[in-house]
Symmetry: C2
Subunit: 411 residues, 2 copies
C-alpha cells in the first residue's frame, strides 16, 4: 500500500521524484531498481559485480542489497567461482518475488509460458486456438488458459506482475491494439491490452510477433550483439529490429517488409492492391495458395516444411524461390542497417532450402563490408522466440516501473 495514503491525503507527491529514473540504456545505474534490473538480466551476480556495473560504491550496494533481501526481492544463492580472491556470494531474484506470463498468439495456435523475473521458463504450454474466432472469444479463452497454466506451474500464490502478448499483425503498443491487420477479421482497433488487463488486473503489454522474435532472440540468443534483424517467415512475413540493444519501433510500423516489391514473372494481387509484394509471393500463405492451384493441399507452414523435408520437388522449388525473394528484399536492408546478426525464424525457417536461399541471395549481393562478420542464423530459441520475446518485453516493463520501490516501501 502506498505510504502517501496513510493520512488520507490523496496526493501523489511528484516534485522531483517522478522524473528521475534510471538509465534505460545500459550499464550505468544508481538505484534499487537498477540493481534489481542488473540481477534480473544476469549482468550483476554478486555485490561486487553490481558495484562495478552500477557505478555505486560497494558499500552502498551492500546496504541496498541487504534491504532488497529483507524485502524478499533478492536472495543469496551459494557462492560462485573465485576470480583470484574471496568467492562472490551470488545473488538472484527470489523465486517468490513474482512471475510474468508470456503469450504468443498465432493464427492457429497459442503458446504460453510462465516466467520468473529472471526470464527463466517455469512452465510452457501450446494450446489450440483460432484467431478467427474474434477478439472477445480469444481473450476469454486466453484468460482461462492463463489461469490454468498458473495453477499447473504452482505459482498461484505468487504475485502475477505482468502479461506480454504477441499478435500476428501490426500493433500499436501504446494503445495495446492491433491495427489494420490483414488476416485477423474483427481485430482492428480492438483494445486487447485493456481487455486483458481488466480481466486479469495486471499490466499487459502487446506487441507484434516479429518484433517480439527480435527481442527474444536478442535476449536469449545474442545478448551482446546490439544490432539485430529478425525475420519471421511464417504465414506472413515480418521483421523486427533491435538497434543499440533496444526494439526499434520507428513511428510504430518499423520492420514492415511484407509489401516490398519483388521481381516475379506472374503478378499476384496482394491485400494492399499491388501485385508484386513480397508477402504475396513468398509468405507461407502465398505458397499454400500456389500449391493448392497445383492440386497439393497444404493447410499450415509446418505441413509445408514436412513436404520439403520429404523431398517433394514442387514444394522444395517453391520454398527455395521464396527464400530467394526474401533474400533479395533483405539485401538492401542489411546494407542499410548493417546488423551484427540476421535471425531467420518462423515456420519457413525450418526448411533448409529456404534458409540456404536467403543466405545465398545476401552473400551474393551485399557489400563485403556488410557481410563480413555478419551472422545469419536460424532462431536460437526456435518456435519459442516470439513467446520469449513477449516475456522479455513485459519483464523490462515491470522492472522499469516502480514495482521495486513499492515492494521496498510496502515492507
Amino acid at each position: 500500500m502506498p505510504c502517501w495514503l496513510l493520512r488520507g491525503v490523496l496526493f501523489l507527491s511528484l516534485p522531483y521524484r517522478s522524473r528521475c529514473a534510471s538509465n534505460g540504456s545500459g550499464t550505468l545505474a544508481g538505484s534499487a531498481g537498477d540493481l534489481v534490473r542488473l540481477v534480473a538480466k544476469g549482468h550483476g551476480r554478486s555485490r561486487a559485480e553490481l558495484a562495478r556495473m552500477s557505478g555505486m560504491a560497494p558499500s552502498s550496494v551492500s546496504l541496498r542489497v541487504e534491504e532488497l533481501i529483507d524485502a524478499g526481492l533478492l536472495r543469496e544463492d551459494g557462492e560462485g567461482a573465485s576470480r583470484g580472491g574471496r568467492r562472490p556470494r551470488q545473488l538472484r531474484l527470489h523465486e517468490n518475488a513474482g512471475v510474468v506470463v508470456a503469450v504468443d498468439v498465432g493464427t492457429h495456435h497459442v503458446r504460453m509460458a510462465v516466467l520468473d523475473l529472471g526470464g527463466r521458463v517455469l512452465l510452457e504450454r501450446e494450446l489450440p486456438g483460432d484467431i478467427a474466432e474474434g477478439p472477445e472469444r480469444v481473450s476469454e479463452r486466453l484468460v482461462e488458459h492463463l489461469r490454468m497454466t498458473l495453477r499447473q506451474a504452482s505459482v498461484e500464490q505468487l504475485p502475477l506482475l505482468g502479461v506480454g502478448i504477441g499478435m500476428p499483425g501490426p500493433v500499436d503498443p501504446g494503445a495495446a491494439k492491433v491495427v489494420a491487420p490483414s488476416r485477423m477479421p474483427g481485430w482492428n482497433e480492438y483494445p486487447i491490452g485493456r481487455r486483458m488487463s481488466e480481466l486479469l488486473g495486471v499490466r499487459v503489454v502487446v506487441e507484434n510477433d516479429a518484433n517480439l522474435m527480435a527481442v527474444g532472440e536478442h535476449r536469449y540468443g545474442w545478448p551482446d550483439r546490439d544490432n539485430l534483424m529478425a525475420v519471421k517467415a511464417g504465414t506472413g512475413i515480418g521483421c523486427g529490429i533491435i538497434a543499440s540493444g533496444k526494439l526499434h519501433r520507428g513511428r510504430g510500423a518499423a520492420g514492415d517488409i511484407s509489401h516490398v516489391p519483388v521481381h516475379v514473372p506472374e503478378p499476384v494481387t496482394c491485400s494492399c492492391g499491388h501485385s508484386d509484394c513480397l508477402e504475396a509471393h513468398a509468405s507461407g500463405a502465398a505458397l499454400q495458395r500456389t500449391l493448392r492451384a497445383q492440386g497439393i493441399e497444404v493447410s499450415s507452414s509446418r505441413q509445408l516444411v514436412e513436404l520439403v523435408n520429404d523431398g517433394v520437388p514442387e514444394v522444395t522449388t517453391l520454398v527455395r524461390n521464396a527464400g530467394r525473394l526474401a533474400g533479395q528484399v533483405l539485401t538492401p536492408l542489411v546494407n542499410f542497417f548493417n546488423p551484427d546478426v540476421l535471425v531467420l525464424g518462423g515456420g519457413l525457417s525450418a526448411a533448409e532450402p529456404f534458409v540456404a536461399a536467403v543466405r545465398g541471395a545476401i552473400y551474393e549481393r551485399c557489400l563485403p563490408l556488410a557481410t563480413r562478420d555478419l551472422e545469419i542464423a536460424t532462431a536460437v530459441t526456435g518456435r519459442d522466440a516470439c513467446m520469449l520475446g513477449a516475456g522479455a518485453l513485459v519483464l523490462d516493463e515491470v522492472l522499469a516501473g516502480d514495482w521495486v520501490d513499492d515492494a521496498l516501501s510496502a515492507r
Copy 2:
C-alpha cells in the same frame, strides 16, 4: 496542483537515488557534466529547468551552477520570460569556455566553421581544395586553414577543445580512418584523425559525410524527431541514420545505399563490379558521365543543378530519373526503418525535379502506415548540414568527456 497542498503531506521515505527521475526525453543527468550538456543542447536554460531535466534537487543544481559559473564555464544571461511566476535567470555557456572547429571535406572543396560550445557558428568559410591531392597534402592545408580561421574568428586565445571532420567516403570512426573509398586515391586506411590530432594537439573525430548530415539535420533541423534518415545525393549517394536520437553506425558501414540494385535498361559497370548499382546510375558522378557522352560537359553537381534550373531538358530528364531511382531504393528502407523524417541533402537535392521524383516514388509505393505523417524535406541547413553535423558530433564527444570535471578541478 496548488503548491500549498504540499504542506503537511507525508512523503515517501525512499532512498534518494531511487527517486531520481526520468525527464521523459531520454536525457539523463546527475553531475556537473550533465548540467553543462543540458545547457549546451539548449534543454536547460535556467536553474529550475535544469533541476526538472536532470532530476537533481533544485538546491543541488544551484550549488553546482554556482561552481560552474565560478569556473568560467557558464554565465548568466539576463532574464527569460515569466511562465506565471518569477522570471528565470537564464544560463548559457560562457563564450570564453572554448570553441570547436567543424570541417566538411568534399571532393573539390573544404568547408570549415568555428563553433562555440552551444553549437552556434562564430565564423564559416569555404575554401578550395582537391581531395585527390592525397591525405598528407590535404591534412597540412587543413591545419593551415584551420589556424587562419581561428585567427579570423578572434578566438586564438580560447581553448580549442576538438575538431570534427567529415569525409566523403566510408569511415571507421574508432580508428578515425577512411576505409575502402571509391573516389579518394591514396586515402585508404590513412589515419587522418591521428595525423590531425598530432598536428593540432586536440581531440579529432572523423565521420562519414552522410552520417554527419543526419547528425546535423537532427540537431539543427529536427531536434525532437528521434528517427531520421538523411540522404546525401551529391557526387556519390549515401545515407545517414538517426535511431532513437543517436547516430546508428551498425557494425560501421550502416547507411550504405550506393550499391543497391535498381532497374535500368542499360547496365553501367560500378566500382563494386555489379552493373545495376544505384550509385552507377543516379549519383552526380554518373549523371556527369552520361552527359559527357551526350556532349554536355559538366564538372560538378552544382553546375548540373544550374543546367536544370536553366531548363535544359536533357539534364532535367536525367536528374528526374535519378530521383526516381533513388526513391525506388528508399521505399523499402522507409517502410523498414519507418522514420519521422526523411531529409534530402547534397548537391542534387537543390534540383527541384530530383526532390519531386523522390517524393513521388515514395508516396507511390510506401505503405500508408509509413508515409502518414512522414516528413520528406530538403536539408534545413542546406550546404552546411555535414559541417554542422561534424560540429555537433565533436561537441557531443567533448562534452561527454571529462573536460567539465577537469575545468572544475583546475580551479
